[in-house]
Structures are given as C-alpha cells and as structure tokens.
C-alpha cells in the first residue's frame, strides 16, 4: 500500500525531512574525511534509495554523483556476496561494468531494515585518492579495467554487523594511501549509518506506507516539473558535434562526439550514435554510472535552473525518468568489458555542452555559448622521506560561455563539475608542494559578445620531491564556440618546466599519464575560456571600458573585437568608436 492520499502540507514536511537527511549525510562525510578530494573538493554524493533502487533524495554535493547510485545498486544486485541483504551489512562497490561511475568512486551501501523488513538503502559515493591503480591517483594510458586498481563488486565489508577484517586488510595492503582510504571509508560508513537512523525515525513518525506514498508522489512531482519543460520544446531532432583531443596515447587522432537530442512530447532521448569507438586506453565512459547521469544533469540544468526556481525541486528519481540515453555498444560512451574506463569526465562535459548547443536554436533564452566543458584533474604523487607515498588529487576549474543575460562566470567549476579548490596554504602546510601562480589567464582573451565568455584560470603547482604527475584535461584543440554572433573562446594548454630553468618549457598534451617529475618541476595549467553570447557590438562601450579597467579585456581586444576605442587615459573616444563600430558592421 503505497498509494495513500497525502495532503499537500504533509508532502512538504516529508520532502523537507528527506532533503535534510541527504544534506546531513553529505555534511558528515566531507567534514570527517581525510583526503582533500573529499574534504576540500567534496567529490561525493549521498542519499536514500528505495528497494527498487530509485533515488528518494540526494545531497547537493557534486553533480556527477547525483543519479549514479541507482546504477551501483543495480550492479550490486547482480554481484552481492551471499546473494542477500541482512541487517548490519555494509557493502563496498566500485565495478564500472556493474554500474559504478568509475573505479575510484567507491560506494558504501547499507540496507535499511524497518520492522525486520528491507525497505531501502542508505548509500554514498566518494572519490578516493588511490585504490592501487597502475599509476598513483589517476590513470589514463592503461590497457584494461584490471589496471584501474581494486575492483569491488557487491562485497560486504560488514556482515550482519561484523567487520570483515580480511577484506579490510586486503584494501589496506593495496593502496598507496591506505590510511586515508580506510579512514575515508569509515567516514562513508558513518554517513550512511546516519541516513539509516534518520530514515527509520521518519518511518516511525509517519508510518511506512504513508511515507512511501509521499516519496512516490514527490518523484512524480519532480518528473512532472521536468516533463512540463520538455513539452515546451518543439518536437524534433537536434544535433551538434564536437571532438576530443585524443585518447591519451594516440596523439593527433581526434575523437568525434555526436549528440542528437530527440524531443517527442514530454520525453527526450539523447542519442550518441556517431561518437567515437571505444578507445584502447581508460578514456571511456561507463554507460550506466556516468554517461546516463551526465545526460540527466544536463537537462536539469537547462530546464529546471535552480537559480530561477522559487523553491528547489526535490532531488529524486523523477528528474531522471523523462530522459532516455542511447550510446552504441563498443563506443566511447558505452565501452565493452574489459575496456578501461576511469578517465570519463571530459567526455561527459562535452556531451552536456553539445546538448546545450544542439538546443540553442529552439531555446535561445535558456542556452549559453560554449563553455570550457572540460575538467583538469591532476594527480601529483611522490615518495616521502619515510618511504611512504604522498598523493594529491586536484580538480581545476573551467569557465562558462556567455549567457543570454549575463557574462559567463570566470574560473569556476563547469557543468558536471562542482567541487571546491584546495586552499594553497593548506596544501603548502601538508604536502611537499608549493603553488606558484593562481589567477585569471592573461595570455588570451575570452570569447567576445554582448555577454562575454568566462576567463579560465592559470594554476602553477611546484613539486618538491621527485615523483609522478597524471593529468586528465581536454580542449587543447577544440575551442569553445560562440553563440548568436558571439566569438569563440580560447583553448586550454598545459606546460611543465623546472623552477630553476623557467624558460625551458615543455608543452604537454591535454592528457598524460605517469609523467616522471624531478624536484622543483612545475606544472602550469591554463583553462579554456568560454565563448561569447550575442553580437559584441551590442555590448555597451562603457561596459567594455569597465572590463579594460579591470584587465578582463585589453585595449587592443576592445578595439578589435568590440570596436571600442579608448584614449590614453582610458576614456572612450566616442567618435572613433562610432566609426570603428560602423566599419565592423554594427
């Protein structure tokens, strides 16, 4: 009986309670964690799920995690140790061919029993700094999924409340950062346990049938909100294409990404047919746990923009239902076992950027110009004096494309990414690294437009011991596009040099694995800049001047891209500006 009538008032009460539970789970997890990728970057997700693996609620942490846990749960069903759930079990799972988002994102799952009966799951996922892959932290250029490190499929770390010490020892023995790994897993367990307790309290208060009735109606509510928005888009097929730099091994072979958005009534299909075949490296996207999740997130951003909703929609299964995703088996978005598939982020972000581009003609007021749509995910590692590894994972930000009513934000996590940076001072105090530069790029200009593109960051990190760097980024060759007359942005780049010989610069590809560093080597990452939105000549000269005063725009760029002429004291030369703009066709 889960179709009881729930009055609209109690509905709000239960919805609020579910949100609070998910937020609390996320909060406990990042507050308790030890590795900076969880505690500072908050690369995690947490929530509650019903018996059929539908999302009841999920924390507002990192979008890539939101919506991935149902796929983990479906994978666990196929692989569960002993084949059944008992009270007190704690399952660890990360197998990308059984639903995980990618191998470093370990899920901790605790079944929720109520009055002796399984009613759902409390679970979270978090990115761990090292699970014993071929290279420390991150991996790209490896041959198969076994090189990604430990694979957990439906394994019970606790069985009926009793810890599986053998499994714990095995995990400890197979990570370069085993102390952090185990402690972060314990933080995940504390977070999931909290979810169990809170959900049981909620069931006590409202009764099982009534609570689940409300939960399912909330799912329907979220679904309806999204379907309403989809049905406003004219039926049809909308296509956009882009490409990726390379697969991390075979340089100069670009990989196409083709997105066809098929809108029919209040449903939509994202068809990735035409995209590249799966790659021989780890540059592939697990279909269930990552590819589909990215498509869900893309539409939620585009159609249910949180900054424009008076109240947030409940984060649950309903927002996934109207969206179907298709990627041919054996393609980069749906690889076949045992292809490696750890480095999957930039493809997902490109997919979202292309969904936005494809729909631009029919949604001009909602879509934006091309964003950095990449990520910079760097792993720095080395050996400490005592022989132990140190590993640091860093997510660097991107920049947004210009928007219908505002400039693209500068230097901020883009699309699927939404982590926090690691403070430079925190880094310097704890690891043998020093940040040498962290500010907006000044070597290129972002896309010009009525609303300009966002400016990418430059971050230069120096390592103080010999070691390794692996870097997963994108868009060294494919420049973010302008929209509705805006000009294109700027590509990213990455340099490595030594602090003691700064002129001897080695230009790096966007993705590289296990690069051996010497003491004082510096990696300088330059993020792509967003494209412009709308005709640059429609940008008021006063605004262009403001940008020049702030060094967001050079005097030369003001002249060339915006037709704004500034005199020596940086005042607008009205006559010359009018002449220049008319010459440019404004």
């Amino acid at each position: 009986m889960t179709n009881l009538k729930v009055d609209p008032i109690t509905m709000q009460v239960i919805s609020g309670a579910l949100d609070t539970i998910a937020e609390e789970m996320g909060h406990v997890l990042y507050r308790m964690s030890f590795s900076s990728i969880i505690r500072e970057s908050q690369d995690l997700g947490a929530g509650l799920f019903d018996k059929n693996y539908q999302t009841i609620c999920e924390s507002e942490s990192t979008p890539m995690h939101i919506g991935s846990i149902p796929a983990y749960l479906r994978g666990v069903e196929k692989t569960l140790q002993d084949g059944g759930w008992n009270e007190g079990d704690v399952v660890v799972h990360n197998h990308p061919y059984y639903g995980s988002s990618h191998t470093p994102d370990l899920a901790i799952i605790i079944p929720i029993f109520y009055k002796g009966k399984l009613v759902g799951f409390s679970a979270n996922t978090a990115h761990h700094i090292d699970i014993g892959a071929a290279t420390p932290g991150l991996i790209i250029d490896v041959g198969d999924v076994y090189a990604e490190g430990m694979l957990f499929a439906g394994l019970k770390l606790y069985e009926k409340g009793k810890k599986n010490e053998g499994l714990a020892k095995m995990i400890t023995a197979n990570s370069r950062a085993s102390v952090q790994l185990m402690r972060d897993i314990e933080a995940q367990i504390a977070s999931a346990q909290l979810g169990v307790t809170r959900f049981q309290q909620l069931l006590d208060k409202y009764g099982e049938d009534f609570t689940f009735s409300a939960i399912y109606q909330l799912m329907d509510y979220s679904e309806k909100m999204l379907r309403n928005k989809i049905s406003e888009i004219p039926d049809g097929e909308y296509r956009a294409e882009g490409f990726l730099d390379d697969d991390g091994r075979n340089r100069d072979v670009q990989l196409p990404v083709v997105v066809t958005v098929k809108v029919k009534g209040d449903s939509v299909t994202v068809d990735l047919t035409g995209s590249a075949d799966q790659t021989p490296t780890a540059y592939n996207v697990p279909f269930e746990g990552s590819c589909k999740v990215a498509a869900f997130a893309g539409f939620r951003k585009l159609l249910l923009d949180a900054s424009e909703l008076e109240v947030p929609i409940p984060s649950n299964e309903g927002s996934f239902r109207p969206i179907d995703v298709f990627a041919p088996e054996g393609s980069i978005f749906n690889p076949i076992f045992p292809a490696a598939a750890e480095a999957r982020f930039t493809q997902c972000n490109m997919m979202i950027d292309l969904i936005i581009k494809a729909l631009a003609p029919v949604l001009p007021g909602k879509t934006i110009a091309g964003s950095s749509a990449a990520i910079s995910f760097a792993s720095y590692a080395g050996l400490k004096d005592d022989g132990d590894y140190w590993v640091f994972l860093e997510v660097n930000e991107g920049a947004y494309g210009g928007r219908p009513n505002s400039d693209g934000p500068d230097s901020i996590d883009n699309l699927m990414a939404n982590t926090r940076n690691n403070p430079i001072e925190d880094l310097g105090m704890h690891l043998p690294m020093i940040c040498d530069r962290y500010e907006l790029r000044d070597d290129v200009m972002p896309g010009a437009g009525k609303y300009r593109g966002g400016i990418g960051v430059v971050k230069a990190q120096r390592v103080l011991t010999p070691g390794f760097i692996t870097h997963e980024s994108e868009r060294h060759t494919h420049v973010p596009w302008g929209a509705f007359g805006g000009s294109e942005g700027a590509v990213g780049k990455c340099d490595i040099y030594n602090y003691d010989s700064k002129d001897d610069v080695k230009s790096m590809p966007s993705k590289f694995s296990g690069y051996t560093t010497k003491k004082n080597d510096v990696m300088a990452f330059y993020a792509p800049c967003g494209g412009g939105y709308g005709n640059p000549l429609e940008r008021p000269p006063e605004q262009v001047r403001e940008d020049v005063l702030d060094d967001f725009c050079s005097v030369q760029h003001a002249y060339e891209a915006y037709g704004v002429v500034l005199d020596e004291s940086l005042e607008i030369d009205r006559l010359a500006t009018a002449a220049r703009r008319s010459e440019m066709g404004g």
Binding site: E24, E425, D551
Partner: protein, 702 residues
C-alpha cells in the same frame, strides 16, 4: 547610572531603559519602540534614546551606558554600498577573491549569479600584485617585499581617491612581516587611510577565507566607524554622555574604538541580542536548555542553547552576503519565515510558504496597503489567533476581510480546500519550515529537543510557539515577559568580550617538548593580549575571565572542531585532556571518533570576558490563587491545529501574577504580542513573568 539597550530591527527599533535606586526616578525598567530609520539608523536610535528618557522622566545625563545592537555593517554587505577598497596581494595571486573556492552556488543552473564576482569586495582594478613570497611550512622569506612596488601602488590608490586598503599576502599567518611593513608604507603615503592586514583581522590559514574576511572588514570599515563615531558624538551633543557599547556577532560587547578597528566583528550584531535576551529570561527561572526562535516580519533567527551555553559557530561556517567571514558568531540560523512570508501555489501545484515576504510594504493583505498575496499573519488573523483590533494594542489598522479574500483566491480555490483548511495549511507549512531549521540547528547536532524548552519571541513569536514545540518535540514553550523587546533587553545582560587567535599547526597526540613550550608561550601571549584589551576598556585585571580553545582536527582532515583547554599551565596532562575533549566533540558532532588518528592543532583561541552589570528584572507579585479569571478581557472564536473552532477567552497579560495558571484554549494578550495556549495545554506564570506553556502541568515558580 541608568542604562539603555537599543536594538535596531528591520521594521522597528526597540529600546529598554533600566534605572537604579540612585537614579532620580528610582529603580525600574521602561520600554519604547520607534520605527527604524533605514537610511541612517542613528536617527531612530537617537530619537528612541531621547524619547525613552523623557517617557521615564530620567535626565539624559543620568544615562551611563548605552548598549547597541546594529545591522549597519550587515546592511552595507547586503546593499553593496561599502567603501571602494584597494588591495595589495602576492604577485601571481591577484584573483584569490575572484575565484573563491571555485564552487558554484548551484549544481543545476546555467544562469546562476556568482556574488563574489558580480559584487566583489575589491574590484580587480584595485587589486595590485606585489613582489614578495613567504614559504610554508615555516614562514621563511623566498622573495623579500618590494617596498617600491608597495609605494607605487599606494600612490595609485591615492590618485583614485581610495581611502580603504587591505593587505593580504599568502602565508602571512606564518610570518606577518611583509603585511605589517606594507601597511606602514601605505600609511606613509595616505596617512588618513583605513588600512588593515589580513593577519590582523584573522590570523588563520586558508587564503581565500582570510582575505575575504579582511576585505569585508575594509569594505564595511569606513562607513561603520563613521556611523558609530557619529552616533557617539550626537548622543554627547544631546546631553547623553554615556559609554556606548556595541554587541558583536559573538554576543560579547565591545567599545566603539574596537568596533571601528574590526567592524567585521559586528556583522551579525543584530540577531545576537535576541539569543542572549532569550537566555537571560529563561535563566531567571532556571531553564538552561532552550531553543530561541526570534520571529520577525521576514525572517526567523534560531539558536540552540545547551546548559545555558551560547554556542559559537565554527568560523569556517560563517558567511555574510555570500562571502566567507572567519569571525566568531553565535551559532544561529536565519531562515526566510516570518509573519510576512507569502503563501502561494507553484507551477506544478506545490503549496509553498516563503521565503518571499511582503515586508512592511505592502505588508500582509490585511494591512490594506495593496498586498494581495496571503501571508502568515493573514492566516493567523483568519484563524482568530491574532485579534484584528488588538494589533499593537489597536494602533495597527487591520481588515480581516482582505485576509479571507487573499487566502481564498490564491490558495483555497486553486487547491479545492476550504479557506480555513488553507489558512491552517499556511501555518503548518511555515511552522514546518521553521521546525526543519530548528532541527538542523539541534537534532542534526545531536541535541534531543525533548529535553528543551522552545522560546519564541519577537512580536510574532509566541503565537507559533506551541505548534513549533510539538513539531520538534520540545518539552514546552517559554513565552518571555516582553516578547517584543527580548532582544533589546538581552543587550543589557551581556559581557564585554574579546577573542584573540593564533594559527599554530602541530601534532597534539605526539607533541614534542619544544612545541609544547612554544604552545605554552603562545597561550600566555594570547591570555595577556585578551586581558590587555579588557583592561584598556577599564576592566580590573582580576575581573577578567579567560576561556581557551584549541581548534583541532585529526591530522589530514579539513575541518576543525573546538576543544576546550583546561585552565592553568599547558602541561602534558592538560594536552592529553585537550586531545580527549576533541575526540568527544568529534563523536558528538559526527557520531564517530578515530581513536588511532593523530590529533592536530590548527588554531589557538582565547576568549576574554569581563562580567557587566546584569539587567535587574523584577519578580512578579505572587498570586494568592491559581485561577486567573480576573485577567479575562473577552471571548472570541479561535481555530486550533486540528481544525476545531472554539470559543476562546483572551487574557490580559498585564494582570497575570506569579502562580496564575491559564488553561487552554486561551490567548494571552499584551501590547506587542499574543501568546497561544491550545486546548489541552496550560500556561503557568513564573516568578519572573515567563509563561511556561506545556501540555503537562508544570510547577515552575511554585
């Protein structure tokens, strides 16, 4: 030696005057309320101070102390009208304030605003990079400060007319020489500038948070200090030669001088008085575990006090206007739920209340000022929980028909429910929103509300009390004697207080002896620094009370929790105690402790306090009997939670004496507030005039 508390709110400025036997009018308390003057708060403050003196017949010269709760600094940060600020920062790091923590405010949005980019505390053109470099982890100088660059930058600021400058260099928490020297040079070039160093404002690791805090200080500094010094002068010019004290965000008082130097400390001055006032009135009747809920027109401030202890937030969690501000603030949360919160149906048919508010213009529909949307106040009017002819003692004109119309048209008809059901729904949803916030400030932190009394105040507070208490399972409600001026009264009950901090990273579990010695020295320094500040304000050294905290984490974690440091010398056993205190705090907050992990100290914090004179609140006369029939004014119908409408007597609170018990259903009326006693509940009047409202008979004051 009369004292005045002045609390400036969004709508009204509340004033309380306390006189003593030595004063011309003898001992007593007087209350007053004037409309807030939003453009310049000091006008209303001055008016209120002068009027309350006249009203009480007290000579202006008799006022010895004025304690002020102000939203002036908060409003500058909300309205973005602070000073044009110049910043000197480490070369290569010009945009720390622009990038922030590079996380978007929303996960699912393309059109989001980024407050620190769209409304920067320092424009990029005035962030000038300077050659200098200090290295971790010991603070040695890699590149020495380029003094000529600093001088050139200062001249550029001067040319641009900039009078407020912040110096923020990386790793200044390890070595502040560069920041301090740069400040000297700026002052040489612009002698009348308002200049602050990031390490002076907050000596803590994490560049963005430290720079942001210091930049906020520079941003609100000039205007806030102008406001405070003006107010001080105007009071003097009008014959009020009193010590002016300001309540800080942490609840402690500070002098005008000190607030001018660190205005960032009074960003949350406004709500602080309420928490303290709530605590004061509960404490009179020896209630130690309370949840204060200060309900205004647009928002509610909620704070949980365990054992009478006002909890100070982890500075890492403090944000103002989207900017992190690492200063001690009372742990309270503000949510958009109040009397003016608007009820509406969203596009998918969801029933919502707030956070949008009708404010005071147009205000609730029943005010008849053109508001057509139903608000929480309209629902209360419709349900007979507020009497239209008694609002502000009848001074506020109310048309209940307009409430009915708004609720019917906007809620009841579209949802197919009766108007009464809709009104009950509005109350239930807004109460629920508040209840969720109460839980996140209590249950979510391991506090069991069943051991707590809920204390609602602000004029609109007590009418929501019982429902909120029931929703969060609190054991009962305390309606303080004067709900409308609880915050102002709180100002007369708090202490002079200063906090000083020092960033010092070291392992505590396996501390080495030379570090233990450094720690001891640092702690002594901090102790004497805090003491000195109080002595400077005229406190006798032996009246200074010091509380010391180690802000710790497990080595490798990113968030610190506070562990108290035992009094006296920092011996090995004292350090062991700190470590254990931390384990316990971690277990309390997160439900887990890592016994094997190393405990790391991040920041030392010393809070110095000197007890002020506390408000003397008179006991009520003892009633000879429990029955309070004589206080009944009249009866009307009131609708309660389950929907039944009952003929309900109204009691005049002025006539209630200690020991009286009012049985629900009842409404207890006073000038600026109505307290609700639902059927099956009762309210007993305590010794000091608190109404103890609960389902089970209480014996307070007997």
């Amino acid at each position: 030696m009369a004292r005045i508390g002045v609390d400036v709110g969004g709508t009204n400025t509340d004033i309380i005057l306390e006189t003593f036997p030595s004063d011309s009018v003898g001992a007593g308390t007087f209350r007053h309320k004037v409309p807030s003057t939003i453009q310049d708060q000091s006008i209303g403050v001055l008016q209120g101070v002068l009027e309350v003196c006249d009203k009480a017949g007290v000579k202006r010269s008799e006022v010895s102390t004025i304690v002020h709760g102000t939203t002036v600094a908060t409003n500058i940060s909300i309205e973005h009208n602070g000073a044009e600020v110049g910043m000197l920062t480490t070369k290569g790091f010009r945009d720390i304030l622009h990038i922030g923590r590079h996380k978007r405010p929303h996960n699912f949005s393309l059109h989001f605003d980024v407050p620190w980019q769209s409304n920067p505390l320092v424009k990029r053109r005035y962030r000038i990079p300077i050659s200098e470099r200090i290295l971790p982890p010991f603070g040695e100088v890699e590149v020495s400060l380029d003094e000529e660059e600093v001088r050139q930058a200062a001249r550029k600021f001067k040319e641009a007319g900039i009078k407020s400058v912040v110096v923020g260099f990386l790793f200044s928490f390890l070595n502040k020489d560069h920041e301090v020297r740069a400040k000297e040079i700026v002052l040489e070039e612009i002698p009348d500038a308002y200049v602050c160093c990031s390490c002076e404002v907050v000596d803590a690791m994490r560049e963005y948070e430290r720079f942001s805090t210091a930049a906020m200080n520079s941003y609100v500094g000039p205007k806030t200090s102008l406001y405070l010094t003006n107010l001080e002068r105007q009071l003097k010019e009008n014959g009020v030669d009193a010590d002016l004290r300001i309540i800080q965000s942490n609840g402690g008082l500070a002098t005008v001088d000190s607030c001018c130097e660190k205005p960032v400390n009074i960003l949350m001055s406004g709500p602080a008085g309420g928490v303290i006032g709530g605590n004061f009135f509960a404490d009179l009747d020896e209630e130690k575990n309370i949840i204060t809920v200060d309900i205004g027109g647009t928002s509610a401030d909620i704070s949980t006090l365990v054992e009478g202890d006002i909890k100070i937030m982890n500075p890492r969690d403090s944000y103002v206007g989207g900017h992190p501000v690492m200063v001690p603030m009372i742990d309270l949360i503000t949510i958009g739920a109040g009397g003016g919160s608007i009820a509406y149906i969203d596009e998918a048919g969801g029933f919502q209340v707030g956070p949008r508010s009708a404010g005071s213009m147009p205000g609730p529909a029943c005010y008849g000022r053109g508001g057509e949307e139903p608000t929480v106040t309209d629902a209360n009017i419709l349900l007979g929980r507020l009497d239209p002819d008694q609002m502000l003692g009848g001074d506020l004109k109310i048309d209940p028909e307009l409430s009915y119309k708004a609720i019917k048209e906007k809620i009841a008809d579209p949802l197919g429910m009766s108007v009464r059901e809709a009104a009950l729904g509005i109350i239930k949803i807004v109460n629920n929103n508040m209840a969720l916030a109460i839980r996140s400030n209590s249950v979510a932190k391991g506090v069991d509300p069943r051991e707590f009394m809920l204390m609602p105040f602000g004029g609109a507070g007590p009418v929501h009390g019982p429902a909120l208490a029931e929703e969060v399972n609190a054991k009962g409600v305390i309606a303080p004697p004067a709900p409308g001026i609880t915050s102002a009264a709180g100002l007369l009950t708090t202490n002079l207080q200063y906090e000083v901090t020092r960033s010092y990273l070291c392992e505590l579990t396996s501390i080495v002896s030379n570090q233990a010695e450094s720690l001891q020295l640092l702690l002594e320094e901090l102790d004497s620094e805090a003491t000195k500040k109080l002595v400077k304000d005229g406190v006798e050294p032996d009246r200074v009370k010091l509380t010391r905290y180690a802000e710790c984490r497990y080595h490798g974690q990113g968030f610190e929790l506070r562990a108290e440091i035992p009094e006296g010398e920092l011996s090995q056993s004292a350090i062991k105690k700190v470590v254990e205190n931390f384990h316990v705090q971690h277990d309390t907050d997160y439900g887990y402790r890592y016994d094997e992990a190393e405990v790391e100290l991040v920041t030392l914090r010393v809070v110095g306090e000197a007890a002020s004179k506390t408000l003397e609140w008179k006991e009520l006369e003892k009633s000879s009997e429990r029955d309070a029939k004589e206080a009944i004014m009249y009866e009307r119908e009131t609708t309660f939670a389950v929907g039944q409408s009952i003929m309900t007597p109204r009691y005049d609170r002025e006539k209630l004496l200690h020991g009286h018990v009012v049985y629900g259903p009842a409404l207890i009326m006073q000038h600026d507030s109505t307290s609700l006693v639902p059927p099956g509940w009762n309210a007993s009047v305590s010794r000091f005039g608190n109404l103890m409202i609960s389902k089970n008979k209480l014996t307070y004051g007997e």
